[in-house]
């Protein structure tokens, strides 16, 4: 599903040049659950942004389902993103002004799904993440665990083939964290490819394979399953 080779990303300011990704290459197959680990500043998040088509690389190739997307323009990236990719963030990133239902509904609206279908799909996914009873609440009325469940529901409502999770349990206690990891595992077992950036060895153990990064490139790969 994902094949990157020779990926490079350099951040420049007036005084400093930081190499975030340095000749990075790896593959993720359809249906895989991959954890990316490494110390802060090793380029994990940059990688995730590029995989999520939120950012573009300075050099290298990025094939998504066999299509070269590294040089896609913003319009094509947005199109590819909304059809194929779901995101789960550490800080949930729910919109405070929208209810649980409306937050989850958002990707469907941008995808142009009709209202009746939207309602059915949002209800279904809210049911699945067991947050249906809070569907009309606003994010600030929920606990952290509940907010992350809503974020997961939003990430999967569009039935993406790939979910990118950036420290999904980083702001949660262990019990809520485990719940979220179990949800991701369930999604993966249902066929969704997952790439997760994490600092937690515990969370990484839910994955099939761990890619360890240092200074913008992979150092080791551990196959767990």
């Amino acid at each position: 599903m994902i094949k990157i080779s020779g990926l490079e990303k350099i951040y420049r300011t007036e005084e400093v040049e930081t190499v975030a990704l340095n000749d990075l290459s790896f593959e993720v197959k359809e249906g895989e659950f991959v954890a990316v680990m490494g110390p802060s500043g090793c380029g994990k998040s940059t990688l995730l942004n590029i995989l999520g088509l939120l950012d573009d690389p300075d050099a290298g190739s990025f094939l998504f389902n066999g299509i070269e997307v590294a040089k896609f323009n913003e319009r094509k990236r947005a199109d590819m993103r909304k059809k194929n990719i779901g995101f789960v963030f550490q800080s949930f990133n729910l919109i405070d002004e929208l209810t649980v239902f409306e937050n989850v509904e958002l990707p469907l609206m941008y995808a142009g799904v009709k209202k009746t279908e939207r309602k059915a799909r949002v209800d279904e996914v809210l049911e699945k993440v067991q947050i249906m009873h809070r569907r009309n609440h606003f994010p600030q009325q929920l606990s952290g665990g509940q907010q992350q469940r809503v974020a997961v529901a939003r990430a999967v409502v569009n039935r993406p083939r790939l979910i990118l999770a950036d420290e999904p349990t980083g702001n949660l206690d262990s019990s809520n964290g485990n719940e979220v990891m179990q949800m991701l595992t369930d999604l993966n077992e249902a066929g969704t490819t997952i790439v997760m950036v994490t600092h937690s060895e515990h969370d990484a153990r839910y994955s099939h394979r761990i890619i360890r990064m240092l200074d913008g490139h992979t150092v080791t790969e551990n196959i767990l399953v």
């Binding site: 939120l54 950012d55 947005a78 995101f87 963030f89 929208l98 958002l106 609206m109 941008y110």
Partner: protein, 791 residues
């Protein structure tokens, strides 16, 4: 999707209520002010353009040259109208107009309305609506009168008016031939009645002379006739009828189209290029700037709060939103805010319009039944929403999701930014308006403080009309005997009123060029200096009772003496046509006409047969209460002129009316400068509050390190003080230039000076500082541990 946008927008506005209130307040005040001005502008632009034949109607103007300078004037010779109608086939109809004010009575119901003498076709030429009576609108019979519905109501109540009889000046019987719809405010014609030209002849006699300009002449061209063709044909019409008059060598006539009467009525170098259009342009600019100031608040407050909206942008982009959709969403929010503000603005407008009307003497109305008004409001709302929202929408929608979701968006303060530029713009405008207000007020005060040259204290005048004309001497005598007045002087016009300008005078040693010098003529039947308190500086006052030859005596003011360039004028002769005058004295200059004009050369004639007595000036006895004096004067007039209601005017009040136009302009500019400061300070209030909030941690750290509260306030205020200084530096030269140009319109004018700039700067600094301190003081006084805990 749109519903989702509205929902998000509404919730966002509700959640950030203080931000919303600031914006709604600013936008609604700005929109109400803009609507007010635009309604007035619309009326100005409609002025004299709604007549039935506007595109074919023209007024005959004259252009002449004096001392090498071309000038224009609109009064024309009496016989010009009929000649134009008979001799020029391209002209369909002609009407002359001459103003008149008469006592019109239906038995006991007496009024003194203003009206016009007109030629027969006047009503149909302009298309004034006939409500009752002769639908053709032709006013031909000498005994007929047309009255407006307002006058009909006053004279006859609700009953029919057509066919009923009225008396004019207690002597002439007239039949109401038609009732006309009241003349809309957007017309140059102000009349409550129309009288046929034949009545004018009956009252004042024929005036076949081409050398006097005492009427206005309007022409209706035949369809398809180019005005330029007729204009060139009538170019010398006056001169052609006065052959051999070399003073008319450079006099020409031209046609001025109805669509330009109001907007282009002032002459500049012999061209009608100025007039209400200047005021319209200035106020359109003010209207635009008012709304821009309000929009700047929205832009500044929205972009200052980007941190709060950035996450939402990031999430929406991640969820698949593209930039155009996000732009639309944010625009939607600003339009919703503009809509809310628009509703409040309509309320403010309906509340404020009567006050505005009173201030500017207009008659603006909000006709909520007119769908065009709603389109106008909708247009203003959409324009404001888009104007305010476009930049923030693009700004917010352009955020990179990667940066904003990682919290990489930082507010930068201290450096130059668009926000500061916008604050500078707002305050530059406000400061410029304040400077303009101060200079207008200064000019007014300067003219008001001008030494009048006569004493208006306790000086009154009353018209001499009806039986007062024949009982004139008895009235004078009775007034003096009553003890209510100390002195009386009969004149043709009030001293504060019109003084006719005459040229063509000759004197010993005068040249041909001197014949073109104009003198303003005033007349008196005696006691001029005693009644008016003017000072004789040579010779004596006119006194026909002691000097029977004083019917041809003349007093000159110093300016007139200067124009005559006579070294020792007393005893010298001046003559013109059938007038031969002897100079008996010289008085000190006094203000005649506009208090803003240079001193005019005035000739004060004695009881000359060419000049009737139309006004009686009298000085009340200061030893007695004013009310008692007035009662005694009333009794005298009632006794000798029972047919007319007694009318009196205080000269000081009449003189004060001369400042009405500048008073109005000063009040308007003052009002809008206050509103602009209010709106700008709302923005400043929001920005200062936001700044104090975002720099809360910094303030905490500074305080821990030893900063004082005043030091913190100074630190926060500094960010705004520099833009204020820049605004003052930008506004001052612009306002100076504008006001310098404006003052050129006044011969008697003040200098601008530097004080107004200092005052304007201090006012704005003061208000801005209070606004900033009110917001920053809380942050400066807060416990620093709170700030550090929140880290």
């Amino acid at each position: 999707m749109i519903k989702n946008y509205f929902k998000t927008a509404w919730r966002s506005l509700w959640k950030n209520r203080s931000f919303t209130i600031l914006n709604v307040l600013g936008l609604s005040v700005g929109m109400a002010a803009t609507c007010m001005i635009l309604l007035w502008v619309q009326q100005e632009l409609r002025f004299d353009r709604w007549y039935k034949n506007t595109d074919r109607l023209y007024q005959v103007y004259n252009r002449d040259v004096s001392s090498g300078v071309a000038y224009t004037y609109s009064s024309t010779p009496n016989p010009m109208g009929p000649v134009l109608k008979t001799d020029y086939p391209e002209i369909e109809d002609v009407s002359r107009t001459a103003e008149g004010q008469f006592l019109i009575a239906n038995k006991d119901r007496q009024f003194k309305p203003g009206g016009l003498f007109v030629d027969a076709g006047f009503v149909s030429m302009f298309g004034f609506q006939v409500l009752e009576g002769d639908a053709s609108g032709l006013l031909e019979n000498p005994g007929d009168i047309f009255i407006t519905e307002a006058l009909a109501g006053k004279l006859f109540g609700k009953g029919d008016a057509v066919g009923r009889l009225l008396t004019l000046n207690d002597s002439l019987s007239l039949k109401v031939a038609a009732v006309l719809k009241d003349v809309p405010a957007a017309s140059r014609f102000r009349f409550e009645f129309l009288l046929p030209w034949a009545t004018c002849i009956r009252l004042y006699g024929q005036y076949p002379n081409w050398t006097g300009n005492n009427v206005r002449t309007y022409v209706l061209l035949k369809p398809g006739v180019p005005a330029a063709v007729v204009g060139s044909k009538i170019k010398r019409v006056t001169a052609e009828h006065v052959p051999g008059d070399h003073t008319l060598r450079e006099l020409t006539q031209f046609l001025h189209p109805a669509s330009k009467w109001h907007l282009y009525s002032k002459s500049e170098n012999g061209q009608l290029t100025d007039g209400a259009i200047t005021k319209v342009r200035v106020f359109v600019l003010v209207a635009l700037l008012m709304i821009i100031i309000a929009c700047i608040n929205f832009i500044n407050l929205t972009t200052a709060r980007t941190g709060r909206r950035a996450k939402e942008v990031g999430v929406r982009k991640v969820a698949g939103a593209r930039k155009p959709l996000l732009v639309l969403q944010f625009l939607n929010e600003s339009i919703l805010l503009a809509l809310l503000s628009g509703v409040i603005a309509v309320f403010l407008l309906s509340m404020g319009l009567p006050v505005f009307n009173r201030l500017i003497g207009a008659d603006l109305k909000l006709n909520f039944g007119d769908f065009r008004l709603w389109f106008f409001f909708l247009g203003i709302i959409l324009m404001t929403g888009a104007g305010a929202g476009l930049y923030p929408a693009f700004y917010l929608a352009s955020f990179s999701p990667v940066k904003v979701l990682k919290g990489g968006l930082q507010n930068n303060h201290g450096s130059f930014s668009l926000r500061k530029l916008l604050v500078v713009t707002q305050f530059a405008f406000a400061i410029a308006l304040i400077i303009c207000t101060l200079i207008i007020k200064k000019q007014m005060r300067y003219a008001q403080d001008r030494a009048l040259g006569y004493n208006k204290d306790q000086l009154l005048f009353s018209p001499v009309e009806g039986d007062a004309q024949k009982n004139y001497l008895l009235i004078k005598q009775a007034l003096l005997q009553s003890g209510a007045v100390t002195t009386v002087s009969g004149t043709q016009n009030p001293i504060t009123g019109f003084a006719p300008n005459y040229y063509g005078f000759h004197w010993e040693g005068s040249t041909e060029r001197d014949a073109k010098s104009g003198f303003y003529l005033f007349n008196t039947d005696g006691a001029f200096t005693k009644t008016f308190g003017t000072k004789i500086i040579a010779g004596r006052d006119i006194d026909a009772s002691r000097f029977p030859a004083d019917s041809t005596a003349v007093l000159l003011n110093e300016k007139a003496v200067q124009l005559l360039h006579l070294k020792d004028p007393v005893g010298k002769k001046i003559w013109r046509d059938d007038m031969s005058l002897t100079i008996v004295g010289v008085v000190k200059n006094y203000v005649s006409g506009s208090p803003y004009s240079n001193t005019l050369p005035v000739m004060i004639l004695g009881p000359h047969p060419n000049f009737s007595i139309g006004t009686l000036h009298y000085k009340l006895n200061p030893a007695r209460p004013v009310q008692e004096n007035i009662a005694a004067v009333t009794a005298v007039f009632k006794k000798y002129n029972p047919g007319y209601p007694f009318e009196f005017h205080f000269v000081d009040q009449e003189y004060a009316k001369k400042f009405a136009s500048e008073e109005e302009l000063g009040t308007l500019i003052g009002l809008f400068s206050a509103l602009s400061i209010f709106i700008a300070c709302l923005g400043l209030f929001g920005l200062a509050a936001y700044m104090a909030e975002t720099r809360f941690r910094e303030i905490g750290i500074r305080k821990v390190l030893g900063a004082s509260a005043s030091g913190i306030i100074g630190l926060l205020a500094k960010d705004f003080i520099v833009p204020m200084l820049i605004a003052l530096a930008i506004a001052s030269p612009i306002a100076w230039w504008l006001m310098h140009q404006w003052l050129q319109g006044y011969s008697y004018r003040t200098d601008i000076g530097w004080l107004v700039f200092l005052i304007a700067g201090m006012v704005v600094f003061g208000v801005a500082l209070i606004t900033i301190v009110s917001q920053t003081i809380r942050a400066a006084l807060s416990n620093p541990s709170k700030a550090l805990r929140s880290q």
